[in-house]
Amino acid sequence: MRHRRHRREAGVVRGAVALDKLAVLVTGFAVTFAAVALLSPRLLASGSVVRHQLAAATSFSGTPPAQLPSALDIQRVVPLSDPTGATRWAPVLRATTARSRPTVRSATVGPLPARTPDGTTNIVVADGEATARGTQWVHVRLALLPNDTQGWVPRNALGGWSFVETRLVISRARLTATLFRAGHVIFRAPVGVGARGTPTPAGTFYVRDRLTGFTNPMYGPLAFGTNARSPTLTDWPGGGVVGIHGTDQPNLIPGRISHGCVRLTNTSIVRLGKLMPIGTPVVIQ
C-alpha cells in the first residue's frame, strides 16, 4: 500500500499535548520533544515515544467532507399512496389455457390468446395469485362470454406487471363516464351506451388496447378496446368486443343508441386518452 512508503522515520514525532482528551496538534521535532519533556515527565521517563503516535492519531481534526449534491439532501421520504389500491396488468407472453383452479388438472375455462383481435398484445388484469406444487398461478379476468369470466393462468405465461391507479366508471343509468385516479375524479363526460337490443354489458372490465390513426369516422379519432363482449352480438367479427370510442354522431350523446360500445364525443375521447392508461379497470354499472 502506498502509505507504507511514508512510514514515520525513527525520531520524528508529531507530538501532542492531551488536555482532557482534547488534543492539540504540535508539529516540529525539537519543540515537540521539549514540550513532551516539560509536560509529561511520566511519558519521558517511560521512554514511550510510541504512545505519542496514538495520541497524535486522536488529535486528528479531519479533512472537510465534500458537499453532497443537493438532490441527495433528501429531507422527506414519501410512502406509496394506497399501494394495494392499484390495478395490475401484464402482457400475455404466450397463448395459454385459463383454468378454474390453479392446477392443470382443473376444468378449462377457456383460451387466453397472446394477441387481441386488433392484433395488439393481449393483456390481463390480475387480482390474486397462488403457488401450487411450486408453480405460480395468477387469477385473471378474461375476454370470454359470459362477461366477467375469470380463471387461473400460469404466471410464466405472463410478462412483467404494470400498475395503474385510474378507474373508469360508466353509469348506464346516468349515461356518464367518470375517471378516478387514486380515488379523485379527474374526468367526467356524458356517454352513449347500448340500445335496448344491443346493451352495453354490466361488469368489471379493463382497457386492453388503444387504437388511433385509423380512418373510420364512426369511431372518432381514438378507440379503446376492452375485454367486455356484447352478450347479444356474439357473431360480430372479432367476437363482439365492446369498445370505448369517439363518434361521428355527437348529437346522440347522451343516449342509449349504440351496439354495445360506450361512445364519447370526440373532444371527450381525446381528453380521456390523455388520462387513461392501458389496464385501467372499467366498471360498467
Partner: protein, 217 residues
C-alpha cells in the same frame, strides 16, 4: 489481506424479537416516517446537517491525507474491538446479542489488523479504554454499540471522499461492513436498521464527543 469466512451459525431470532416487528405501531406509516426522520439525527447527535455540509474547501488528496485518515480509523477500530471484547467478558450477553458481539468483535479485530498492517510502525500502540456499564449492562451495551457503529460509519463516510482512489477502494471494503454492524445493532434494539435513505457524514469533532468518553489514555 483477504477476509476469511467466519462461518458462524446464526442464532434463531427469539419470538419476542419477531413479535416486536408485528406490533401495529411498527407498521403504521406515520410511525415509520417518524422513526426514519428521528433515528439518524438522534444517534449522530442532532447537530449533523447543514453545518457539516456547508461549503468548505475540499482537501487535496494525497498519501499524507490518506495516512492521517487511516490512523484515525485505526483508533476507532481499536476502540470498537476493545468494546466488544470487553462486553463479551463482562456483560453476560445472550442470544443474538451475544452472537452480534462475537461476530462484530471479530470483524472489528480484522479491521484493526488490516489497518495496522497498512500503517506499519506508524500504527503505534492502542490507547486505554474505559467503557463503564456499557460493557456490563446488556441494554447499555446495545445503546453504546449503536452509538459507536453509527459514529464510526459517519466518520468513514465523511472522510472517505478525501482518500486517494486506491485507498478509498480499500476503505470502502470496511465501510459497508460498519454500516451492516450499525444496522444489525439497531435491529437488535428494535430500531429501523436504515432510518434514512442517504447516510450523513459525521465530523471528526462531533465524533470525538462520542468516542472521547471511552478513551482513557
Amino acid at each position: 489481506m483477504r477476509s476469511r469466512d467466519l462461518g458462524n451459525s446464526f442464532v434463531p431470532l427469539t419470538d419476542a424479537a419477531q413479535e416486536r416487528h408485528n406490533l401495529p405501531g411498527w407498521l403504521s406509516r406515520a410511525s415509520l416516517l417518524k422513526r426514519a426522520m428521528a433515528g439518524c439525527g438522534a444517534l449522530a447527535g442532532g447537530a449533523v446537517g447543514a453545518t457539516q455540509l456547508a461549503a468548505s474547501p475540499v482537501a487535496r488528496r494525497s498519501a499524507a491525507t490518506d495516512h492521517a485518515i487511516l490512523r484515525y480509523a485505526l483508533v476507532i477500530e481499536r476502540l470498537q474491538a476493545a468494546f466488544y471484547a470487553q462486553a463479551l467478558r463482562t456483560a453476560h450477553l445472550t442470544g443474538e446479542t451475544h452472537q452480534f458481539a462475537k461476530v462484530v468483535g471479530q470483524e472489528e479485530q480484522a479491521h484493526v489488523k488490516f489497518l495496522e498492517a497498512a500503517l506499519g510502525s506508524a500504527a503505534g500502540k492502542s490507547p486505554g479504554f474505559r467503557f463503564g456499564d456499557a460493557v456490563t449492562d446488556p441494554a447499555k451495551f446495545l445503546t453504546a454499540a449503536i452509538s459507536l457503529e453509527e459514529t464510526g460509519l459517519g466518520v468513514y463516510n465523511g472522510q472517505a471522499v478525501n482518500l486517494t482512489p486506491e485507498t478509498l477502494a480499500d476503505a470502502a471494503r470496511i465501510v459497508s461492513v460498519e454500516a451492516r454492524h450499525a444496522a444489525w445493532a439497531r435491529a437488535l434494539a428494535g430500531e429501523l436498521p436504515a432510518p434514512v435513505p442517504v447516510d450523513r457524514p459525521v465530523s471528526v469533532s462531533r465524533a470525538k464527543q462520542t468516542f472521547g468518553r471511552f478513551i482513557s489514555a
